[in-house]
């Protein structure tokens, strides 16, 4: 509101000024424009000063800053701008000064001017009559609503409102009828209606458009630089150069000295010369130094990447492609277990081959291997497997030994546990689980005699004495002595004599655990002569080499009554041991000297029968000894065990086995030495008999040479039992074996 009011006021003033100007223009038509404007400006300024203080202050600077002022001020500026288009930048003071200078310059014009000036001022003063200025100030005029007056003029008189107040109807009529209604403005301060002149309307329009109020004002005047761009010979100011411009700067000196110091100290380095030697190659190995090579540290070169095989080809032979099974297997496998790190693929032409997705991976893994993988020098075993096989004498050179199965003795219906060959080598006795002892002629494989003993026969043993023909048979808890009455009549009678001679002395003993008794009746007819009844089941019988003594074994954990030695001639039995030293497996007499071998579970004990003491204890290094055999020389013992081993003891060497042989796949059941040839054999549950050549040298320094020479197979495995017993022919290099398949076989 106020602003508007101010506007209106200004407009009024303008109109007044315009009038004045018109008048003056008429008067001094021949005067210069400049001056005219100059004069005109004066009263306007004054008016502004009157208006309010803040405005006037603005107007002082308005000439300097065109853009900064309000729209109200712009009006003032126009006039002022038109005033001082030459000296825009100067103060009002300088303006006045200049005008003063100008005045002094043209004096003749001045006189007239002054006159006119006076007239103007006067006029201006006189024109005050219309100026009924309200002096109430900047207050809401509503306050005077109820009063007849509207304020006070300069003289302090009331300004009265116009007499008749227009009502709405009047207003409307006025609007309809009065052609000047649109340019009629209500002055609130005086309450009078003012009709704007054409110029004033024009001015309002121009201002609304944002244009200059003055029509004649040229917005785009050519700018005139105050300072020329050309260098003049004279300085703008005549001030002499400062002294400091001739003296070296202290601050700069300080800075420079700092830099110099920093360079001296090496803190700042001079700009590096661009080193282009990087990436330039030369002959690095021009002077190869062999000493360098020697100095080089222990280096394990990385192994090269293995070269690709056929399966990596883009078009491999069809056999290298995976089948469905292989492919699914490959997919299931852990990447580290896979044989190939990729699946072989076939493409029909080169253009179809895609990029390998793991190429970068593989390079990267190679890099990792090169710098992260611990290296170790590993000696590759580069052995020809043939070289590992020991050089042994050829079996051909070690002949004779049994090589082929030549005869099969059939007749038993149960497994044949034990066989024995007569010392002459003509007869063979066999005892079987079917309760019979059969006597065979070796050469013809004919069964000469069958003796039903009525119980599973555990062991049979032919008397080694050539001059008698006796057979010891162990079954259940008895040992029978048979006289098979085969061969010479002399021999038969000799054996009969041996048996009968014993009779008288045998009667004398009564409270023995072992009972000797003669056999009568049917059994006597069969050839059974003597029955030796034991307290427990007998497992083995064996003869002394002389043929007079007989040992029997009754394995029992808890008793010391395990071994009996019987003397046939005197019908006497004795128990050589007072103490139980473990489960006795088998016993054997020394072939020459009075020694007695007792095999317990883990060890073999050797007793001197004369001195009645133990001389040696052999550690067999096996879990469970099954059988032993003594070399005819008496210095070597072999023992077979149920854990597939055969140990060879050299009695002179050590109590530990000289050699362990693990030829069999299953338990070794029986071992045997040949009486004259350097052969020994072992029979096992795997159905094989292995014949080895074991030369024993007379020279004590030379160790026996053991060479396996033949694996004999023939027995079939029944009930997990193979060969149960093996015996050599006393004179020929033949071997007999009895098996669980109820046969006896002769290998020659």
């Amino acid at each position: 509101m106020e602003e508007r009011r101010g506007n209106v006021q200004n407009i009024e003033q303008r109109s007044e000024m315009k009038k004045v100007r018109e008048k003056t223009q008429k008067k001094r038509s021949n005067e210069e424009d400049e001056e005219d404007q100059f004069f005109n400006s004066k009263p306007a300024e004054k008016d502004d000063d009157d208006d309010d203080l803040s405005d006037s202050e603005d107007s002082v600077y308005s000439g300097l800053e065109d853009s900064g002022s309000d729209s109200e001020d712009e009006e003032d500026e126009k006039e002022e701008g038109s005033l001082d288009d030459e000296n825009d930048d100067d103060d009002n003071d300088s303006q006045s000064q200049q005008t003063a200078v100008k005045k002094s310059k043209n004096k003749n014009a001045e006189v007239i001017e002054e006159k006119e000036k006076k007239e103007d001022e006067y006029e201006h003063d006189t024109s005050d009559e219309e100026d009924i200025r309200n002096t109430v100030g900047n207050i809401p005029m509503e306050w005077y609503k109820d009063f007849p007056h509207i304020g006070y003029d300069l003289d302090g008189k009331k300004i009265y409102k116009p007499i008749r107040n227009k009502d709405e109807l009047d207003e409307f009529l006025d609007k309809m009828e009065n052609p000047d209604y649109w340019r009629t403005v209500h002055d609130k301060q005086t309450g009078a209606d003012v009709v704007l002149s054409d110029e004033q309307v024009d001015l309002v329009n121009r201002l609304q458009k944002g244009q200059f109020g003055d029509l004649n004002f040229n917005e785009y005047q050519p700018s005139v630089d105050f300072f020329t761009k050309d260098v003049m010979i004279h300085p703008v100011t005549n001030r002499p150069a400062d002294k400091r411009s001739f003296i070296p700067s202290l601050i700069e000196k300080e800075k420079v000295s700092k830099l110099v110091h920093a360079i001296k100290m090496g803190w700042i380095k001079p700009r590096r010369v661009e080193d282009d030697s990087k990436g330039r190659y030369y002959d690095l190995w021009a002077n190869e130094d062999s000493s360098l090579l020697a100095k080089h540290r222990m280096h394990l070169p990385a192994p090269k990447i293995p070269l690709p095989g056929h399966e990596e080809s883009y078009n491999p032979p069809p056999e290298y492609l995976f089948t469905d099974e292989e492919r699914s297997l490959w997919e299931q496998q852990d990447p580290s277990d896979r044989k190939l790190p990729f699946v072989p693929k076939k493409f029909s032409n080169l253009r179809q081959v895609p990029a390998f997705p793991r190429f970068i991976h593989e390079r990267f893994e190679r890099c990792l291997d090169l710098y992260l993988c611990p290296r170790q020098r590993k000696m590759r075993v580069n052995v020809n497997p043939e070289d590992l096989i020991p050089k042994l004498p050829k079996p051909k050179d070690l002949q004779p030994f049994p090589t082929t199965q030549s005869l099969v003795y059939q007749g038993h219906s149960g497994l044949v546990r034990s066989i024995s060959v007569s010392p002459s080598g003509q007869w063979l006795a066999s005892g079987s689980d079917d309760g019979s002892v059969k006597l065979w002629e070796v050469c013809s494989s004919r069964c000469m005699k069958t003796v039903q003993v009525g119980g599973a026969v555990k062991s049979v043993a032919w008397n080694p004495n050539q001059s008698v023909c006796l057979l010891a048979v162990a079954l259940e808890s008895v040992v029978l002595i048979l006289s098979p009455s085969l061969g010479d009549k002399q021999v038969i009678s000799a054996s009969e004599r041996l048996l009968t001679g014993q009779q008288e002395e045998g009667l004398s003993e009564g409270s023995d655990p072992v009972v000797w008794s003669d056999v009568e009746g049917e059994e006597l007819n069969q050839g059974i002569r003597i029955k030796i009844t034991h307290p427990k089941a007998v497992h083995q019988v064996t003869w002394h080499a002389k043929g007079d003594y007989l040992a029997s074994v009754m394995p029992d954990h808890s008793s010391h009554l395990q071994v009996f030695i019987h003397q046939v001639r005197r019908r006497r039995s004795q128990n050589p041991f007072r103490k139980n030293k473990g489960l006795v497996q088998c016993v054997s007499f020394h072939p020459i000297r009075p020694y007695f071998f007792v095999a317990t579970q883990r060890s073999v004990r050797i007793y001197n029968l004369v001195k009645q003491e133990m001389t040696k204890k052999l550690q067999a290094n096996s879990k469970w000894i099954s059988s032993i055999a003594v070399h005819p020389g008496g210095d070597h013992v072999i023992s077979g065990s149920y854990d597939c081993r055969l140990s060879w003891f050299d009695l002179d060497l050590s109590t530990k086995p000289y050699k362990m042989l693990r030829h069999h796949k299953k338990a070794v059941r029986s071992v045997a030495y040949h009486r004259s040839y350097p052969l020994f054999a072992s029979a096992s549950d795997d159905g094989s008999v292995i014949v080895c050549h074991g030369t024993v040298y007379n020279d004590l320094l030379q160790n026996p040479l053991i060479v396996p020479v033949k694996v004999l197979r023939g027995h079939t495995i029944t009930h997990d039992l193979g060969v149960l017993d093996v015996k050599f022919h006393p004179t020929q290099p033949w071997i007999f074996s009895s098996g669980a398949d109820a046969t006896i076989r002769l290998f020659t």
């Binding site: 190659y281 690095l284 130094d289 390998f356 970068i360 990267f364 710098y371 611990p374 590992l388």
Partner: protein, 579 residues
């Protein structure tokens, strides 16, 4: 007693090794720097013989370095450079933080750099050492040169790799050193004989890489840094050994031939020369221009056997020379769909002339319309316009020829024909290994035998069958024996049971005593018996070796069976088709 008590782990193996962390502390380096140093200096962990002793009684998994190696690293000047670089980075960061741009600029200018020349010299004291180890360098550089020029590593590195690999290929072409090529599903393997060293490298196919995320490119970049230096020096030396100009220049004569009107179409002026080199179509300039002369073996006066040997050697030499020139006089033209670089490289290595369409690459020397072209290599099912006087063959022919060291018959490689399998030339068949029949065919061709088309395959099969039969024979005979025995047993049983046999006299078969066979059996038994007498440890080793051998045989048999099944199926198919 008395004396100073010995403490554990103060002597012996424990003092020779050092764990990685302790090594790092000793060198005062961060882990990445330590890694880089190890890569550059070729220091790797060692696996101690007694890990527990070295690890001071603990069995925790640790990597051990030799203490000597680490001491050796202590005096490495490059360690100082690493520290300098660390400081440089710190300063630069500080300057950035303070927005002191002038300082940043100054620091940038003084960025510390290092050279690896002395390391190369130290790691490879002689040139042969360097050549021996160049396989990995080549593989890596070839891989890096196929990377896109953005992203994974510096453009400079990629450019350098490309330059070096092109130099290497140009050298191999000039030296005619290439021996074997193999197109695998991974890439193309090449093997060259350079100064008596067999060098193998693999080049990936020309596709953009799908960069994996689980790969540390810094490690690869460090390796590449070392390898580019190594390869550069090796190239230099190799070029000079052939009197070639290094860096390589195209022979002036060839260059004039290559001159073309619109070189700008292919590359910018600055790059066109290197591109021309990379095209591999022009020979290189020599320091001393020499006409190719045949190397004659010096004749030494020799007598008798030596003379024969000499002659044999001479013959061999001649053969080798001939093998190096199998493509001599042939003119190849590559269609746009075949791998240009690989084929151009291989053909030029063996003396052929090669060109391609102008729009494919710079450096083509003649056009498709050239009447003198003998072979056009095409990899599409058929081609519209065919010239009469040239063979249209698939690219595999070139590679197979190189591997067979002779020109193979082109009939198998015509357009649209099912290609014969591409075999790896790196497989050396030992006795007992499986040899694919295709390989046998090529071997027969090499010996100069004429392929008898269809029959041959059958013959081979028969041969195979025979072999198998032989294998089977042992078993069969054993079986026979068993059968006989059974018969005997039966008869015996019958006899023992007292049954009246249906007595019938049949003419007895005369058993042919196969003496050789018997001997063999005897020997086998001897061996079996001797094996029984082996010591436990040796037996174990022997069993292991034999197991390996048996497995090999088993695998070979499996492959043979697979092949047979495949061939049978093919035959059946053919028969069906005929009907």
């Amino acid at each position: 007693m008395g004396g100073i008590q010995k403490k554990k782990f103060e002597r012996g193996a424990a003092t020779n090794y050092i764990t990685r962390n302790r090594a790092r502390k000793k060198l005062q380096l961060s882990l990445p720097d330590f890694r880089r140093l190890c890569i550059l200096k070729g220091i790797y962990p060692h696996e101690p013989k007694h890990k527990k002793k070295v690890n001071k009684g603990s069995t925790a998994p640790r990597t051990f370095y030799l203490l000597k190696d680490i001491r050796f690293l202590l005096h490495e000047p490059i360690v100082g450079k690493f520290r300098e670089y660390k400081i440089f980075v710190r300063k630069l960061k500080k300057a950035y933080g303070k927005t002191e741009w002038s300082a940043v600029e100054r620091l940038r200018e003084n960025k510390p750099t290092y050279k690896l020349d002395h390391i190369i010299k130290e790691r490879y004291p002689s040139f042969i050492d360097a050549l021996r180890d160049i396989d990995d360098a080549l593989c890596m550089c070839f891989l890096f040169s196929t990377f896109a020029r953005t992203g994974k590593c510096h453009v400079q590195t990629i450019k350098l790799c490309r330059r070096l690999t092109v130099e290497w290929m140009n050298f191999v072409i000039t030296a005619r050193a290439l021996q074997k090529v193999f197109i695998s599903i991974k890439g193309i393997y090449y093997q060259a004989d350079v100064m008596g060293q067999l060098i193998t490298w693999v080049v990936p196919y020309q596709f953009s890489h799908d960069h994996p995320t689980d790969v540390d490119y810094r490690v690869m970049a460090t390796f590449t840094e070392l390898y580019t230096t190594l390869l550069g020096f090796v190239n230099f030396r190799l070029y000079h050994s052939l009197n070639l100009v290094y860096p390589p220049k195209i022979d002036s004569k060839a260059e004039s031939e290559l001159k073309e009107d619109h070189e700008e179409d292919y590359a910018m002026n600055s790059e066109s020369y290197s591109e021309k080199l990379a095209a591999l179509s022009a020979s290189l300039a020599r320091v001393v221009s020499t006409e190719e002369e045949d190397v004659q073996l010096d004749q030494f006066p020799a007598e008798g056997e030596d003379m024969e040997k000499m002659e044999a050697r001479e013959k061999e030499q001649k053969q080798l020379e001939a093998q190096k020139k199998i493509f001599e006089g042939l003119k190849f033209f590559l269609n746009r769909e075949v791998p240009r670089e690989s084929l151009a490289f291989v053909i030029r290595c063996f003396g052929g002339m090669v060109s391609w369409d102008k729009s494919v690459c710079i450096g083509s020397t003649y056009d498709v319309t050239d009447e003198t072209i003998t072979h056009q290599i095409v990899d599409r099912p058929n081609i519209d316009k065919q010239y009469i006087n040239r063979y249209y063959i698939q690219p595999q022919w070139v590679y197979d020829c190189v591997n067979a060291k002779m020109l193979l018959p082109v009939e198998d490689y015509f357009l649209g024909v099912t290609l014969p399998p591409h075999l790896s030339p790196f497989v050396e068949e030992k006795e007992g290994d499986y040899v694919p029949p295709d390989r046998l065919k090529i071997m027969a061709l090499q010996k100069g035998e004429k392929p008898a088309q269809e029959d041959e395959g059958e013959e081979e099969e028969e041969e195979e069958d025979e072999e198998e039969e032989e294998e089977d024979e042992d078993e069969e005979e054993e079986e026979e024996e068993e059968a006989e025995e059974k018969n005997l047993k039966k008869m015996e049983e019958q006899r023992s049971q007292g049954k009246s046999l249906q007595v019938k006299v049949t003419a007895g078969k005369v058993k042919a005593e196969n003496r050789a066979r018997l001997e063999q059996e005897e020997k086998a038994e001897e061996k079996r018996l001797a094996i029984m007498m082996m010591k436990k440890r040796e037996k174990y080793l022997y069993d292991k070796i034999m197991f390996g051998k048996k497995r090999k045989i088993r695998e070979a048999n499996k492959l043979a069976a697979k092949r047979k099944a495949y061939d049978d199926a093919e035959k059946a198919k053919k028969k069906k088709a005929r009907k």
